[in-house]
Amino acid sequence: MSDLLVVEDLTVTFPTTRGPVDVVKDVCFTVGSDETVGIVGESGSGKSMTSLAIMGLLPRGAVTRGSIRLDGTELLGRGDKDMRRIRGNQVSMVFQDPLSSLNPYYTVGLQIEEVYRAHKGRSRKAARKVAIEALEQVGLPDPERRVDYYPHQFSGGQRQRVMIAMALVCSPALLIADEPTTALDVTVQAQILRLLADLRRESGTGMVFITHDLAVISSIATRVLVMCRGEQVEYGTAEQVFSDPRHDYTRMLLDSVPRIDDSPIDEVMS
């Protein structure tokens, strides 16, 4: 397993009226080409900013330092044009709220097609075929018909499946899932988690899984990074972090969630 993504000393600074604030500070982690790394932390801990930094999608004014290497090439400091070729193509992202993350004015088919066409430069017809396949792959029934549906015609879980199809349509090397199950019902959460894990394994994609939910991370990640207020407080294999937390903050997080040792999603790991 080779190193797909290497993040070293990543620092993200925002200018504020009260001077610059580091929202991410000296974060280091590695994602292998065929594994899932979990980033855990409360809201505002900097985990989403870390993922946006990888995508090159930080808000205007943010300053980044350190290094983010994808397959050995440096991503930080690249121009927007360069980054556009990587986004959606080599690195793609699934967001928290699938309803607001999909444009309500267009069919899901078009929204999947446009990623494919932007990066692979294929015809509308070819892209449509790929979109239908992608929808089928994420387990959406009747994809030939549903490809022409609008986002509001799907349920929450189905919408997230559409988002996943959209993220995987160009077969990216790395998938960043930013709280992909937080906005969903508990029963649907498990399905989406299993889908993500299955698809990742089948396609050999590396995955960064961001969540505030430790139960979720324990079932899906091989390595875990715990963040608190922009800082990396713990980093190690999932087993290490959960069985022997080194840091008070991790211990506090672990105590705050009831462990569900035999939750159905544990099967994913096996």
Partner: protein, 312 residues
């Protein structure tokens, strides 16, 4: 990082702190808002002190001054810029030499009074009917909503002119206020109705209802205070509209009847003279423009200040 403080639960509803002091503070730091307020205070003072201005300059709003106009030139004001001089600070009207400053000051009384009264009446009608519709829903809402649809489909300007021109020329100012309000309230009521509808189903209103609060308490303690900021903004933005409407109706000759001066009427009577005496329309036009602009800017900034308060 060794401290493990428990962070407050995210997303806990915090009451929007739209305190009057914070809004006032935001406005004080905005030069456009300060300038607008200053201008409006000036106009208000002018309107209040109109008799005083007349007494000082020695020209009433309806005093003819044949010395200030040149009968050889068809009654054009003597001197450049529409007869502006130490005696007549803003010039005189052509043909009869009435002092424009005095007429502007007295006209401000008419314009502001009508706009303020129309705003008050519109707000009263809009709030009462909008809240009735939103609070009781059912057939009450149906009836009020249909009336609003009907009034909003009405060609209001044509109709206002038509009604005003055919009504006996009794007290035109009162008529103007009534006519403007009758066609104006649905725009406010629509918003009030929508907000009341959502408020009625909110937990805190529900809680008050369950704990046995009377309708009056529900309306005045729970719902009305929550409408406050949008009402303030909407009424502030309504005033410039009504200043403009009054001036427009007077311009079309159906507003206040001469010799009572009004800004719109002054502009209207300057139409025939604009080519030879541009100051005649420029002065009332500038006053009208600056007043409407100031009120609009103030309303706009007020809304921004309230919005910022709700976002924080």
């Amino acid at each position: 990082m060794t401290t493990t403080t428990v962070l407050p639960a995210a997303g806990a509803p915090v009451a929007p702190a739209t305190s009057a002091r914070r809004v006032a503070g935001a406005l004080l730091h905005d030069w456009a808002a300060v300038l607008s307020t200053a201008f409006l205070v000036l106009i208000l003072l002018m309107a209040i002190c109109a008799p005083l201005i007349s007494a000082i300059t020695g020209h009433g709003p309806n005093d003819f001054d044949s010395a200030a106009i040149d009968t050889d030139l068809g009654g054009l004001p003597r001197g450049s810029l529409g007869g502006i001089s130490a005696d007549h600070l803003l010039g005189v009207e052509p043909q009869n030499g009435r002092d424009i400053l005095a007429r502007i000051a007295y006209g401000a009384r008419v314009s502001l009074l009508i706009a303020a009264a129309a705003t008050a009446l519109t707000t009263l009608l809009g709030v009462v009917l909008g809240m009735l519709a939103g609070f009781y829903q059912g057939w009450v809402d149906q009836v009020i909503s249909r009336i609003m649809d009907f009034l909003m489909a009405f060609p209001a300007l044509i109709f206002m002119i038509a009604i005003l021109s055919s009504l006996p020329t009794g007290n035109r100012s009162v008529l103007l206020v009534v006519v403007i309000s009758v066609f104006g309230w649905p725009y406010l009521a629509r918003v009030v109705r929508g907000q009341t509808l959502t408020l009625v189903n909110r937990e805190f209103v529900e809680a008050a209802r369950v704990s046995g609060a009377s309708t009056g308490v529900l309306v005045f303690r729970e719902i009305l205070p929550n409408l406050r900021s949008s009402l303030i903004v909407m009424t502030t933005l309504a005033v410039p509209g009504y200043v403009g409407t009054e001036a427009g109706l007077s311009f079309l000759g159906v507003g206040v009847t001469p010799p009572t001066p009004s800004w719109g009427q002054m502009i209207s009577s300057s139409v025939g003279w604009y080519a030879v005496d541009p100051m005649y329309f420029a002065v009332p036009g500038a006053f009208l423009f600056c007043t409407v602009l100031s009120l609009t800017v103030l309303g706009d900034r007020l809304r921004a200040a309230f919005d910022a308060g709700e976002a924080s």
